[in-house]
């Protein structure tokens, strides 16, 4: 009743090709943006911003990156954390060598380093697919993590073997380092995530996105239509790794404030792969859903008992959280194997025809 496009006629192709062609969707996205840009920074406290929102946005960005590769181009990768690490270490090196340059420039530039590394490790994708490619990218993961530990130049010969984020400012306000306020860090992360999500949406709705999906769905037909497989796949690796690299740099500079190589272990790769699968392969919205389900839900569950006044031991809460999240993941995958994004689509379709069944 409320979500219905009846009476909304499109009179030109541009309107029909818009990412949000329906008025209600436009209102919805405007509301979400207002919420993210105005309401959350005003209403949220420091804990909410730095423990919930900033990590959520960073995970969502990494999920978008992996989704472009795995969901849109059909190339399974387990090297996500490795590429994130390349971004983080590149950003660290760049900002310590050239401290004068704005940190946001370096965060985005570090994505380019990750992209270059991603292209290199994407080369085998021409010959191998599926699980075999996953194993090849696993090699990238282990090799890169080895580099982060064994090449002291990367962490400036720091005795702890970790990187410590220096203070960097934007218009005189600290953005990174111990003095940066959560609001400032939140706005920087949010700005970058909005920008890159918009770019990703543009890419997947245009020629490049269609080539990626064509390669994913039927590579032989794509090739015989003149889509060159290797450049298409490598472009997917480059863009995907760029996103992961930026997410990695954001993670270290605006969330952790410092990092050991252990942060970029295979567990991180799996975590992001789960976000992509549960959120929905081949859906940008799904990347946000997946990050929310896997990252925010446990936090909510941990806080829930004390909120409703239940007195349960911290260890029990922790165990319960694992069990509930695990059960929910299985539940959602049984209800809709194509992920939360598909569930969302089905829900919208139901809403369109409500109160009738079809």
């Amino acid at each position: 009743m409320f979500y219905r496009e009846a009476g909304q006629f499109k009179t030109n192709y541009a309107a029909d090709m818009a990412v949000f062609p329906i008025l209600q969707d436009k209102i919805g996205i405007a509301l979400i943006l207002t919420l993210a840009l105005v309401v959350i920074p005003l209403a949220g406290n420091a804990f909410f911003l730095s423990v919930v929102m900033i990590p959520f946005l960073i995970f969502a960005l990494a999920s978008i990156g992996l989704n472009l590769l795995t969901g849109y181009t059909g190339l399974l990768s387990l090297g996500t954390a490795g590429f994130m690490g390349v971004g983080a270490f590149a950003c660290y090196k760049l900002t310590t060598i050239f401290p004068g340059v704005n940190i946001i420039v370096w965060i985005l530039t570090s994505g380019l380093f990750a992209a270059a590394v991603g292209v290199f490790f994407g080369l085998p994708s021409l010959r191998i697919k599926g699980f075999y490619l996953a194993v090849a990218t696993l090699a990238a993961q282990f090799f890169l993590q080895w580099c982060f530990i064994r090449i002291p130049w990367l962490y400036n010969y720091n005795v702890s073997g970790a990187i410590e984020v220096p203070t960097r400012t934007l218009f005189g306000i600290p953005v990174t380092g111990p003095n940066a306020s959560p609001e400032m860090r939140y706005y920087v992360v949010l700005g970058i995530v909005i920008l890159l999500t918009w770019v990703a949406s543009n890419l997947v709705h245009g020629r490049i996105g269609r080539s990626w999906m064509a390669v994913r769905d039927m590579d032989i037909a794509a090739e015989l239509m003149g889509i060159k497989l290797l450049p298409t796949k490598l472009l997917a690796f480059a863009v995907s790794s760029f996103y992961c690299g930026v997410a990695g740099a954001l993670m270290v500079f605006l969330w952790y404030g410092g990092a050991e190589p252990e942060v970029f272990s295979i567990n991180q790769s799996f975590l992001i792969l789960f976000m992509v699968i549960i959120g929905g392969l081949g859906s940008l919205t799904g990347s946000f859903f997946g990050a929310a389900l896997i990252y925010i839900l446990p936090i909510v569950l941990r806080g829930a008992p004390s909120l409703v006044g239940l007195n349960i031991g911290a260890a029990t809460v922790e165990h319960l959280t694992f069990m509930i999240v695990g059960a929910l993941i299985i539940f959602f995958l049984i209800v809709e194997p194509h992920g939360l994004a598909r569930l969302w689509q089905t829900g919208k379709q139901k809403l369109r025809v409500w109160p009738f069944p079809y």
């Binding site: 192709y13 090709m17 543009n202 999906m213 769905d217 037909a221 015989l224 003149g226 889509i227």
Partner: protein
Amino acid sequence: MRAPDMDAGVTAGDVLLAVENVSLRFGGVKAITDVSFDIRKGEIRAIIGPNGAGKTSMLNVINGFYHPQDGRITFKGRTRSKMRPYVAASQGIARTFQNVALFKGMTTLDNIMAGRTLKMRRGFFWQMLRHGPAMAEEIEHRKVVEEIIDFLEIEAIRKVPVGRLPYGLQKRVELGRALAMEPELLLLDEPMAGMNLEEKEDMCRFILDVNSQFGTTIALIEHDMGVVMDLSDRVVVLEYGRKIADGVPDEVKSNQAVIDAYLGVPH
């Protein structure tokens, strides 16, 4: 849109594609042995033969997916023994598949739009913005795609993911995707396989219309002899990778070698 090159010299009735002494082997298996035939501009050329005769292999050779060990292929006056699929596609050879090879996760519209990929020029920067020139280009190609959608009468399924469509419509979308490439030579691999009579009649009409309205040269593989004899201008018959007959449908129909190939020889 395509660079005006040697195809300027190819007019109706001239040889568009010539296959000369092509042989293709997979290890010890001889898929095609010393086959020669030609396809003239503007005609509908059928390739028939019993199962395993090498028909699909022949199409794969023509559009560069297989590389024959021997022989030459001349397309629009350019001779080659090997070709990459990309080059074949950019020179104007399009193709449909025996088992529908659509992009299942994409809508009808996106599938046909994907057929325009080679004709789209805007680079990565504009694609990132999806405004200005990139959007203008999208709209320009969308118009062409909409004409194809009108032509094939698939307006209603424009935004349906093709994986959900019935088989007959999938075949039609696949034809649309090939047409979106504006091919000079359209290779159809069993366009009517698995269809009922009405669907076959529709498909026949589309093939004839493509041929007459757009002047597209068509090479088709088909097992339905009624369709082959009605549609095609000339027929080439393969058996066990060799050419056994070539000519207008009436000649081929009465050719003893063809009858033997299809009906068997009494012992």
